[in-house]
Subunit: 121 residues, 2 copies
């Protein structure tokens, strides 16, 4: 079959590490990535892309320098290009991240939480 | 507050018509649209964009000239640019459609099911 549905639950079951985005689809020049968030991430920004967070299960926060947004299951947020932000999840949260292909998770910040940006599951 | 979560359930409650995409967000040059599908749509293709379907609630099918895919809640499919397809939903199905900004729902086909491509909710 040339076409097959991508099932979020089945794909998430393949992910065992936190803060490590896995690509599940590409649309034009945009990647769709599943990520399991837990705990604190790093302050960073993405110079070349807006970034969409869609919460599939759980709750998370995105801190901005002048604001903080709580996201729950069935909610999304667009973080504009170039804006510093820091994701956080008190408990494990399953997220669909959508952004320009080849984007690195830690953006301009680097550091030990930088993950490969080309892993498909 | 400069940033606010976009809640799918609350936005869907504002939609009363079928096959009429409403924009809820933009990421780079990509629009995120909520649509309520019910019944049969028309054969069409999109010359300039791939098209993502994410089922938020319900079930739908996408027919291709040589295939047919069933999608359920928590599943997505990428329809490649230029490929003829026809969505169908036996019962009302709530879908997040993601595609290049300014895309028209009926693509190259036109006809009475063509909806405005610039309505935000």
């Amino acid at each position: 079959m040339p076409y097959a549905p991508i099932n979020f639950t089945k794909k998430l079951a393949l992910i065992t590490d936190h803060w490590s985005p896995k690509i599940i689809a590409q649309m034009n020049e945009t990647h769709f990535k599943l990520v399991k968030f837990e705990g604190d991430f790093v302050w960073h920004s993405h110079e070349h892309t807006d970034e969409v967070f869609i919460v599939l299960e759980g709750a998370m926060e995105i801190e901005f320098r002048d604001d903080r947004v709580s996201l729950h299951t069935g909610e999304m947020l667009v973080v504009p290009m170039g804006i510093e932000h820091k994701p956080f999840a008190a408990e494990e949260c399953h997220v669909l991240v959508i952004e320009q292909a080849d984007t690195v998770n830690t953006g301009d910040a680097g550091g030990c939480k930088t993950a490969a940006n080309d892993v498909w599951i």
